[in-house]
């Protein structure tokens, strides 16, 4: 009896394993195509920018200020510097406030005030960026009586805060209670534990959230229109109107001049590259302190 049965059984095994392999292949293929579908638009955007922008990209573009209409050459150096200044101001304001609020929500925010902050952050996240520009105009520009890098920085900071807040809250909540208890058990006070243990444990996730917020606002144009305003000259004073890459791209792109159109493409390429470079640099620096085996 046994021979026939084992034969049958092994045939069954074989068909099961064939079936499994087919499914496995199918799943791998599906996942692979999903990856391609995600990468395709990204690659297309970047490829097109390189194609259109690389021609006008040269040393002059990176080191000179714009030339008057009709004159060839010139560049966006002042806009690159202005973007750096505005983003610096935005980060100095937005990162501490966002992280602070996120930590508060995660550790002490199980109350009415916490719910209110969460609600506010979510609403703020959905407010159109042009509206945030108007708000910054109202609270900074009207008071200073002129446009400024500070006003642009405030507008972008307001946009960064909700993203950073919610990301920080989520990351801090992921830190197990056991880790906090370990610190309490050593006689470490609650606020010290929050800062030196809990936040530190969540840090790599928090940094990811910060970089996400940074990359998002780095390309914003609308909130800068009537805050930083733009400038054709160099400016390092945060109380003066300042050029910014997205603004410059916008102005050049809607102009009727071919030369300016080409420079707008180059500006867009530079903007993307700078965002990628700064995000990678932060990740690299943050990752360097990482220990073997820590997550």
């Amino acid at each position: 009896m046994s021979r026939a049965m084992t034969l049958k059984a092994s045939q069954a095994d074989l068909s099961v394993s064939l079936w499994r392999r087919a499914i496995d292949l199918l799943a791998t293929f599906a996942a692979g195509s999903a990856v391609v579908l995600v990468l395709l638009p990204l690659g297309a955007v970047f490829g097109y920018l390189v194609y259109k922008g690389i021609g006008s990209l040269n040393w002059a573009f990176l080191s000179q200020t714009p030339k008057p209409v009709g004159e060839a050459g010139g560049g966006m150096a002042n806009a690159i510097a202005g973007s750096a200044l505005i983003l610096g101001i935005a980060s100095v304001i937005g990162v501490p406030v966002g992280i602070g609020a996120g930590v508060y929500l995660a550790e002490y925010g199980r109350n009415r005030l916490g719910d209110l902050i969460r609600f506010t952050a979510d609403v703020l996240n959905g407010v159109p960026s042009i509206v945030i520009g108007i708000v910054a105009y109202g609270i900074v520009v009207l008071r200073q009586r002129h446009f400024s890098a500070l006003a642009g920085g405030v507008a972008l900071a307001i946009m960064m805060i909700p993203t950073i807040t919610r990301a920080t809250e989520e990351m801090v909540l992921l830190v197990p209670t056991a880790v906090r208890e370990a610190a309490y058990g050593l006689g470490v006070s609650r606020w010290r534990t929050t800062i030196s243990i809990t936040l530190r444990t969540a840090m790599s996730g928090v940094i990811t959230g910060v970089m996400l917020a940074f990359a998002r606002v780095a390309g914003e144009t609308a909130p800068l229109l009537f805050t930083a305003f733009g400038n054709t000259y160099w400016n390092w004073n945060m109380n003066q109107p300042t050029a910014a890459l997205p603004l410059q791209i916008f102005v050049y792109a809607i102009s009727p001049f071919d030369e300016w159109h080409r420079q707008a493409w180059a500006g867009a390429l530079v903007l993307i590259v700078l965002i990628v470079v700064s995000v990678s640099a932060v990740r690299l620096v943050a990752g360097r302190g990482m220990l073997k085996g820590s997550s």
């Binding site: 370990a182 309490y184 006689g187 010290r192």
Partner: protein, 252 residues
């Protein structure tokens, strides 16, 4: 040196449920006391009352008195002050995941403002040696994260971390429940040595372990202390029927 722990009429609540009911007992200096009992009977809750960890749980509440030497735990002092005198080792190893082995051990001192690097080095080495971990990790102290060690090594790291702040009392809540027999026996040996300097309270589900390491044993049931006596007496000739049923494996 160790100090006596005197517990009087201790009650502990989670919201409305009372998890620990009117416990009175004395755990003596430089001895190990084992706490045994079925799951959910309040052993962890009881131990967590001793270093005021219970009150970190939302809605949790405590009444009664605990004295550790001359320190009145629930009166006229702060929770952090109490916890600096009491080391705690948890059931699941909980090293600080982003810290190196060295920083894990030094954490208690550093976070409380201790800065002398030479002395820190010494204390870290001494604590790791006491926890029988020094030889396994001495070459990776600053390179490797605490989380990269094996479970048994992590638990010994947590013990070293607790010892580094030189507490008077060591609370251990099922320190071996996640460990293999070799790590377990290492930790038991350790408890044996630590007794000379500390007062030790150890929660365990393992009766052999209780009888190996502890001079005194308390048997808990449904939040009550049923019997507290010399370990030998509890395991050979208990006076309460429920204790006898439990240790002979008739329930729980």
């Amino acid at each position: 040196m160790g100090v006596d722990i005197q517990v009087e009429h201790l009650n502990a609540w989670f919201g409305k449920t009372r998890a620990v009911q009117d416990i009175t007992l004395k755990m003596s200096a430089n001895h190990a006391t084992a706490i045994i009992g079925p799951s959910g009977c309040g052993k962890s809750t009881f131990v967590r009352c001793i270093n005021r960890m219970h009150e970190t749980v939302p809605e949790a509440r405590v009444s009664g008195q605990i004295r550790i030497g001359d320190l009145n735990v629930y009166n006229g002092t702060s929770a952090t002050q109490v916890r600096r005198r009491i080391g705690m080792v948890f059931q699941k190893p909980n090293p600080f995941p982003t810290m190196s082995i060295y920083d894990n051990v030094a954490a208690g001192l550093k976070l409380n403002g201790f800065r002398d690097r030479r002395q820190l080095d010494e204390i870290v080495e001494r604590s790791l040696t006491m926890a029988a971990l020094w030889h396994e990790v001495k070459d990776a102290l600053r390179k490797q994260s605490g989380a990269s060690l094996s479970g048994g090594q992590q638990q010994r790291l947590c013990i070293a971390r607790a010892l580094a702040v030189e507490p008077q009392v060591l609370l251990m809540d099922e320190p071996c429940s996640a460990l293999d027999p070799i790590s377990t026996s290492k930790i038991e040996e350790l408890i044996f040595q630590l007794k000379q300097r500390y007062t030790i309270v150890i929660v365990t589900h393992n009766m052999q372990q209780a009888s190996r390491v502890a001079e005194y044993t308390g048997f808990f049931l449904l939040g009550n202390l049923i019997e507290f006596d010399k370990t030998e007496k509890i395991f050979t000739n208990p006076s309460d029927k429920r204790t006898e049923d439990y240790i002979t494996g008739r329930f729980g």
